[in-house]
């Protein structure tokens, strides 16, 4: 799997158009050309250079950062350096130049790399988890309140929250970014200045960026006594930020944890950070020199041809094009449930696709250029009459599950209403699904969970785009309800 590095030299903006068939296709596969996984990525991210570059949706502030740095340094090198080189030493521009290149390199690296996005669960996994949870809760009908799992890490009890959008239990220290609509490992914060989330994979680049930027600004302004007052604040804010992150690194905390006070002793006498090794030097080494994990989302891999194709929509909601597979003949309970589920989805999909004039429908933006494939024909025997909502299966491992309110989740993609059951035979349809192709099935909005974030540094969840998508979700949910 490709490492997904940002290769600036090979940059070309690729059109998102159909590709010619690759030699990997066999005669049995359909003739639609293979597309790469980044083209159907469910999060709210922008991709460039054929998936090598990954950024958040809002990149305006990033360009501002770039301009500020380039202009300031440009002015310094043009006007001050010749003077300084003569009067003092030519080492100054050289050092300044090296520092400038380092700043730029780390900035681009931070902005363009995958922060550690966790791919969404495949339908099989999601179904398996649902089954375990439903067995533990014994619920039927409406979706139960948000779920958590408790885990003991180094003697400290940590709650793992279930992410409704990504359909996974988030690993410890992971968090869901509402702006990018992704779960990110070791989530620090979403930084608009770099136009990306800061997480496990790019935290060290981010830290190096702000550290080197501090040195660069101090370096530049050390020689400009006249403008010190004006630039004092910007210098100090960057230096202050570097200092803050140095503290975070040495105590092995994320910005998220620090702001929430997760490991603060104020929460309890026995509260401590289970991830810290206790030693400042070790913590720094781990954060800055530890092995760099690879990207989990395989942006540039090819989508397997028999997986359902889904078009990513501009605000990140993916619409589930109906699967193309036919059902097998055996009508055992699981098969029936699955068949019915797909009939419902298939029935609603063409409905939604055809009414393109409705404001409810999200059509792909030209930049995506993908069309929603209408593969809605399923060959089925009629669906079974009974749709049992609970499936008694022997619980495999049932961790202690308790229900809590979701305070830092984004339940914009509610649960699909026809979430009946997890099944055994759906593998036929989902055999090669990769995590990116899992739909966030729009459905009823999850009742009772507060929308918006209370504790994180992320900006407010309510922006116009999300309002529209909420509306769309609820309409879709109603359409589905009516077709039941």
């Amino acid at each position: 799997f490709p490492p997904g590095k940002a290769s600036m030299r090979e940059c070309e903006y690729s059109q998102i158009s159909t590709r010619s068939s690759t030699p990997m296709e066999t005669p049995y596969k359909k003739r639609t050309p293979k597309r790469k996984k980044w083209e159907t990525f469910p999060g709210r991210n922008k991709f460039y250079c054929d998936g090598r570059i990954m950024m958040a949706k809002q990149t305006g502030v990033f360009y501002l950062t770039l301009v500020l740095i380039l202009v300031t340094c440009g002015l310094f090198f043009t006007f001050d350096c010749p003077f300084l080189a003569q009067q003092l030493t030519p080492i100054i521009p050289v050092l300044g130049g090296a520092l400038f290149l380092f700043v730029l390199g780390t900035l681009l690296r931070t902005s363009f790399s995958d922060p550690g996005v966790l791919p969404r669960a495949t339908p099989d996994e999601a179904a398996d988890l649902e089954r375990q949870i439903d067995v533990a809760n014994g619920t039927k009908g409406y979706r139960p309140p948000p779920r958590t799992k408790e885990v003991v890490i180094n003697g400290q009890t940590v709650k793992l929250k279930y992410c409704f959008t990504c359909k996974i239990f988030r690993p410890p220290r992971a968090s869901h970014c509402s702006l990018c609509d992704n779960c990110v490992e070791r989530f620090d914060h979403h930084c608009p200045w770099v136009g990306n989330c800061v997480g496990r994979r790019n935290y060290r680049f981010f830290y190096m960026f702000i550290l080197s930027l501090s040195f660069l600004t101090i370096f530049i302004f050390a020689f400009l006594t006249g403008t010190v007052v004006v630039c004092f604040f910007s210098v100090w804010s960057i230096v202050g930020l570097s200092g803050f992150h140095t503290y975070l690194i040495s105590s092995n905390q994320t910005t998220n944890e620090d702001i929430k006070g997760s490991w603060s002793s104020k929460r309890g006498k026995d509260n401590y950070n289970p991830y810290s090794s206790g030693n400042i030097f070790t913590n720094c080494c781990v954060a800055l020199c530890g092995p760099l994990p690879p990207s989990l989302i395989d942006k540039r891999g090819f989508i397997e041809a028999d997986a359902p194709q889904m078009a990513p929509l501009t605000n990140g909601i993916t619409m589930y094009g109906a699967t193309q597979s036919q059902q097998s003949h055996m009508c055992d309970q699981d098969q029936c449930i699955q068949s019915t589920k797909f009939v419902l989805q298939a029935a609603t999909t063409p409905l939604l696709q055809q009414r393109s004039s409705e404001p409810v429908i999200i059509t792909s933006s030209p930049e995506n250029g993908t069309s929603l494939p209408a593969r809605a024909s399923l060959t089925l025997g009629g669906p079974c009459s009974s749709l049992p909502l609970g499936q008694p299966t022997p619980p495999t491992s049932t961790p202690s599950l308790s229900c809590h309110e979701a305070t830092d989740m984004l339940p914009i993609h509610g649960h699909s209403l026809n979430h009946t059951h997890p099944l055994q035979e759906q593998a036929a349809l989902h055999h090669y699904l990769t995590p990116e192709e899992v739909p966030s099935p729009p459905g009823m909005l999850h009742c009772g969970s507060p929308l918006g974030h209370s504790h994180t540094v992320q900006t407010s969840f309510y922006n116009p785009a999300s309002q529209d998508s909420l509306h769309e979700d609820s309409v879709r949910g109603l359409v589905k309800l009516s077709s039941v």
Partner: protein, 143 residues
Amino acid sequence: MAETHSLQDMRQQAAVAAKVFIQRDYSNGTMCQFQTKFPSELETKIDKQQFEETIRTLNNLYAEAEKLGSQSFIEGCLACLTAYTVFLCMETHYEKVLKKIAKYIQEQNDKIYAPRGLLLTDPIERGLRVIEITIYEDRSFSR
């Protein structure tokens, strides 16, 4: 548009009986480790010892990938000095171990799991969340 002859390999469609997911074990922190608990669906298919051995080896390999050893430390420092451009030409330590893991899984599948009608999916294809074990039905393949 009905893709009636789309890839449904008769074999895949008819033969998959179930999928078992081995979840992550977070009791040691955020390190990539999988639970060694033997799932009940596999009781009739494979030896418990064998299964645990596979999972334990995988856990050790992942621990090796994430270990802060001298090699990764040097790699980290070198990368920092070159403003991380060195990663454009060099493979990271983690990636090297992931290749090892892929090979191990392939080998296990060929020797142990496939003859029993099972298939291990490399966790990296599932975002390192689960080890997916597909159970195939015991049935002759028809075309």
